[in-house]
Symmetry: C2
Subunit: 338 residues, 2 copies
Amino acid sequence: MNNKPTIHDIAKALGIDSSTVSRALNDSPRVTRATKDKILAKAEELGYQRNMLASNLRKNITNTIGVVVPRISRHFFSSAIQGIEETAYLAGYNVIICQSLEQLEREKKIVGGLLANRVDGLLISVSMETMNYDHLEALKNSNIPLIFFDRHCDIPGFSNVLIDDFKGGYDATQHLISKGCKHIAHFSGPQELEIYKNRFEGYKAALKRNNLTFKEEYVISSRLMEQDGYISMRKLLAKKLPIDAVFCANDLSAIGAMKHTKELQIKIPDAIAFVGFSNEPVSSVIEPSLTTIDQSGFEIGKIASELMLKQILTKETPQKGQTILIDTHLIERNSSKK
Amino acid sequence: MNNKPTIHDIAKALGIDSSTVSRALNDSPRVTRATKDKILAKAEELGYQRNMLASNLRKNITNTIGVVVPRISRHFFSSAIQGIEETAYLAGYNVIICQSLEQLEREKKIVGGLLANRVDGLLISVSMETMNYDHLEALKNSNIPLIFFDRHCDIPGFSNVLIDDFKGGYDATQHLISKGCKHIAHFSGPQELEIYKNRFEGYKAALKRNNLTFKEEYVISSRLMEQDGYISMRKLLAKKLPIDAVFCANDLSAIGAMKHTKELQIKIPDAIAFVGFSNEPVSSVIEPSLTTIDQSGFEIGKIASELMLKQILTKETPQKGQTILIDTHLIERNSSKK
DNA sequence: CTGTTAGCGCGTTCAA
DNA sequence: TTGAACGCGCTAACAG
C-alpha cells in the first residue's frame, strides 16, 4: 500500500530474475511471449509503475526537454508551448514548462534546476532582464543543446528560431499600399529593440519598393503601450498631414489609436487599417476591423521543437548556430459580416 | 567537458571521501567549516551540479508537485498556476505544469507520467471528458496527496478548492438590485453543470431575499457561447417585458448580448449591467462598462497549493476530504473615465 | 532466452 | 569529524 512495488517484487513473486522483468517491461525481443505475458499480468496486478528517476539515472537520459518562457499567460507563449508539446510528445518526449516572470534571477534558478534534473535539451525565450548570459553560455561545453525562440541572446554556437519582423513590417505596409493608401504613418517602438527596428525597416523598404518617399514626420516613436497609441494618434492628427493609414508596430498601440479616433468621432476612410503584431485574442476581439500581422506561436514552437529534437538525436549542435526566420501572417478581418 | 562532475570527482581531487562531500554540499553540521569551504570551492571550480535524479531516487522524495490543467492558455488557469508556483517556491518546492487539452486520454497519460516521476503531490483541474475517475481513484491508497481545484470530481477522500458560484450569483444579483434594478433577467447555462446551477440558485436566492418574485420568463438558457448571448438577447427583447438588467452566467454570453444591444442601438438605462464570470482580460477590454464577477485564479491556486503543502508535510489526507470555497470578486468598471 | 554481475550518483547508515 | 560500505530502482554487459 505504502511502498510502491518494484521490479524485484514482481520478480520474486514469479520466481524469476529482476533483469528479465526489466526486459519484459521494456518490451525487449529477448523475452519469450509467455513469460512476458506473465510478467505484465503480475505488474498490472501489483499496480506496478516504473520509477522514472531510477530509469533515467541509469540510462543517463530523461526524454525530457525544458522550456523557459517569461510568462505562460501570454497567448503567444502558451501557443508556442502548444506547438512545442505537440512535436515533442509525438517523438516520445516530455516537456517541463517554466516561467521566469521576466526576472533574471528566476531564470537562472530555473535553468540550473532543469540542468540538475538532467533535461535532454533546453528551449528558452529569455526574460527582459536577461542582459548577462553567463548562465546560458555555461551550456556551451555541455552536451545538452540550447535553442532560443522569439526572445534571443546573441551567443554564437546556439540556434535561434525567430519571427521575421522585417518581412512582417514589409508585408503590412505593402498590404496598405495595395489597398490604395499613399500616406502611411508609422507608430514605432524603441529602436534599441531589434524587433521594432526591423519592423520599421520593413516599412521603409516597402515604401521604397513602391516609389513612395519616406517622410520622417509620418513616424511617431513611443513605448507602444495602449496609452502611447492614443497619444501618438493625437500628435499625428495635430500635424494636419494627409493620412490614409497607420501602421502600428504592435497591437496595444493600435488599440489605443483606434480608441482616440473613435472618441474624436473622426471619419476614417475605409482604406485605413491599423496593423499590429500579436495573436493575442484581445486585439481581434476589441476591433473586429483591425487588420493584424499575427505571429504564430504554435508555428514557432513547432519549428523550435523540431530543431531541438534533431540536435538531441544527432548530438550535433551546428558550430555557428543557425537562425530560422518564421513568417508572420496578415489577417484581414471583415467587420461588415456579423 | 562531456561528462558532468560528480561528488566522487570532487572527492578524488581533494583526497577525501565522497560521503564527506555529500554532507558538505548538504550543509550538514557534521563537517568542519574548513573542509566545507574547500569542498564548495572545488565544486564551484569543477562546475559541479547535483544530479537531482540520483538525489531524489535516494531520498525517495522529489520536492516537486505536479499540476494538471485543461489548458494553460486560459487566463484563469495560468493565474492559478501563478498562485500555485508562488506558494510552492517559497516552500522550496518545484512545480511541473501539464495540460490535458480537455482530453481524458492525455490526462491519464499525464497523471501516470507524473506518478512515474514520483511527484510528491498532485493538483488537478480535470478535463471536460473526465467522467471516469479510475486513474485518479488509484491514488487513494498511495501516499501521494491529490487535490482538485476548480474542476473537480466527486471522489470522497480527496479535497477540493472551488469557486463559490452560489455566492457569486447571489452577489451579482444583489449588486443589480442595490442599484435599483427590479426586473433582472438571467442568461443561464446547462443545468447539468454544477457551476451554472449554483449561479442560477444564487440569482434566485438574491431575488427572494429582496422580495422580488422569480419569473421563469426572465430566464433564457443556452450553451453560453458569444453567439448564444446574442441570440438570447434577441429572444429576451422579443418578449417585450420590462427589463432593468441582465445577469449573464458567463462572460462570453455577456459580450454577445452587449453586441446585440449595440447593433440595435437600444437605449440602455444606466442601471443595466452585464455580469459575467471570468477574469479573462478580454471581457474587461471589450466592454469597459461591463461589471463582472471575477474568480481569482491566483487565489484559488494559492489556497490549493497551501493545502497541498500541508498534506504533504503532515502526511495526512483528511479521511473525508475537505472542500474550501473561494469567494468571487465583483468588479465594477467605470466607463466614464478614460 | 534467461541469470549474474555491476554500476548510474547520491545519501545514509555504521564504525572509527 | 571523517571514511567505508551499502542500497535507492533500474538497465546494460556478459555469460550460459
